[in-house]
Amino acid sequence: MEKNTLFDKIWDAHVIKSVPAGPDVFFIDKHFIHEVTSPVAFLNLELRGIGVKYPNRTIATPDHNVPTVDQDLTIKDKLSRMQVEKLRENCAKYGIELHDLGSAHHGIVHVIGPELGVTQPGMTIVCGDSHTSTHGAFGAIAFGIGTSEVEMVLATQCIMQSKAKKMRISVEGTLGKGVTSKDIILYIISKISAAGATGYFVEYAGSAIQSLSMEARMTICNMSIEMGARGGLIAPDETTFAYLKGKQYAPKGADWDKAVAHWKTLKTDDGAIFDKELVFEAADIEPMITYGTNPGMGIKVTGTIPSTQGMEGSNKTSYLKSLDYMGFVPGEAVKGKMVDYVFVGSCTNGRIEDIRAVAQFVKGHQKAENITAWIVPGSREVEKMAHEEGLVKILEDAGFELRQPGCSACLAMNDDKIPSGKYAVSTSNRNFEGRQGPGARTMLASPLTVAAVAITGRITDPREVF
């Protein structure tokens, strides 16, 4: 019998037709949209004189540019307001389910999809957002698309894509104290570089991955794009089923049993061939932090910034330009460096487990004077739980500022910008120049490391503090 990978099984089941010497016509089960990458797609549909073919397969929420204060008021920024209003208008016009600002399930699109149980094993899921890869944690093929493709999905529920190559990354063994799934993915990216998985779809496997909670798995799949991969996925198992059971859109009753029976078949066959296989040891992974301007530029929190030895030409120039932007020099240690902001939030680490982890760490402590600390829940649901569990109180007592759900300082489209030249240690996923505001200097780390930095005011190894 033919041996297939999990990726093959889901992909092949969604190909309607393969164009000779061209891409596959690929069917999309679920489509998420937000206010920034959808308006032009709707506009083009209008210009073509066509509508949305399967509105019940699309779900919308405004997240990227929404304010994180006073969400019950009219949005002050005119352009942001127009985008959000356009989204409302388009959803109403075509009958698309919208989780609007202030509603019970408003939030970052990649946080609410799983929360609602919309995201399920075996599905194909796209969104005009590269971190759509997050949903791969459920054993789905999920990836980001451009606005032209958003238009294709709205018009036909299909896109045209060539099948990616396959890579398996296994992490074996037990994670050390203070090491989280964020550290796993930052470690992997630092090893294979920000372009190391370009052209591939990655399956994460191995005992260390299997031991993770759903939320921790989402953090890993989320950052697949930061190593260039089209997406990443993890075979569904009992952890997946337990998470989904009872969720609003999860199958119920007999349908549930049928679904689980099918989901159990969604795994890579023994002996299936990958184009590339990598294996890492969990024991080698320590708390990580980035020091440069792409997510591949990561080191152990206790490490030193690599020297330029062995680099030449544009490689070296680009490296030095990056360090110059960050205000760092090759060969120096990052530990002990002063920090100005911490940001806990985003579709990478803005879920309840992340907020719990931070709250548990800072409980009874005060943030350092030099630190401004923002906590932005990934969704209303997360916010609600944080209140109910008393986490908000703990965090506010420690001097953190809680904001309302949205992408916030992850991409700084709203007012949540890190000022130029300031250092921010963030739980988000991108440390690009200006990502968190023009001139902002971002260092990516886990929620635990961020909590430690908040308390000490400096780059700190979380294992040494608490």
Partner: protein
């Protein structure tokens, strides 16, 4: 939407040898607030092109009149990061019709093909050859020939062939896009959807 046809392009080129240029640099997030597709060219490479007061930064290549043209020759791993198609709209709106690099990020490359900006992947050696030639003579003409799938330095005749899938090539040459194709498949898609 359907776009300009692309067959043979002869132009001077603008060099940007920086590696790992992400789409946040090509068009920063704060300029993504429009609900239409035009006008993004003004903010192409915004934070490299202008200082905080909005004055042009002299050392950035787009502010250097020595260089111009419809071809952007970029460093390795161009277009990584965010999937924003706005990055390609900005390049297009500014006047680029072709981007050359030794390595492109996946989504960016797809987005280029979908709106009619040709991404040409060359070997690292050929990319270096282009950078050297343009540095030596900013008026160096480059020919990108889609039917032949070649890129040539016209002065020396140095040439390399590039890959593109037949379907996308055909689309680019005729200015078709995928939606036209998909709409013609409506019946098959309906059948498939009903079975799910």
């Amino acid at each position: 939407m359907a776009y300009d046809k692309f067959t043979v392009l002869q132009s001077t080129a603008v060099p940007l040898p920086t590696e790992n240029v992400d789409t946040d640099q090509i068009i920063p997030a704060r300029f993504l607030k429009a609900t239409e597709r035009e006008g993004f060219g003004d903010n192409l490479f915004r934070d490299w092109r202008y200082d905080v007061e909005g004055n042009p930064k002299k050392d950035f290549v787009l502010n250097d009149r020595t260089y111009s043209g419809k071809i952007l020759v970029a460093g390795k791993n161009f277009g990584s990061g965010s999937s924003r198609e706005h990055a390609v709209w900005a390049l297009y709106d500014y006047g680029f019709r072709c981007v050359v690099s030794s390595f492109f990020a996946d989504i960016f490359k797809n987005n280029c093909l979908n709106i009619g900006v040709l991404p040409v992947t060359v070997s690292p050696e050929f990319a270096d050859l282009l950078f050297t030639a343009i540095a030596a003579d900013p008026n160096t003409a480059v020919e990108v020939n889609l039917p032949q799938q070649t890129i040539t330095l016209l002065a020396t005749g140095a040439s390399e062939s590039f890959d593109i899938n037949e379907y996308k090539k055909d689309n680019m040459q005729h200015g078709f896009d995928d939606i036209d194709y998909l709409i013609n498949m409506a019946a098959e898609i309906e059948g498939f959807e009903a079975s799910r």
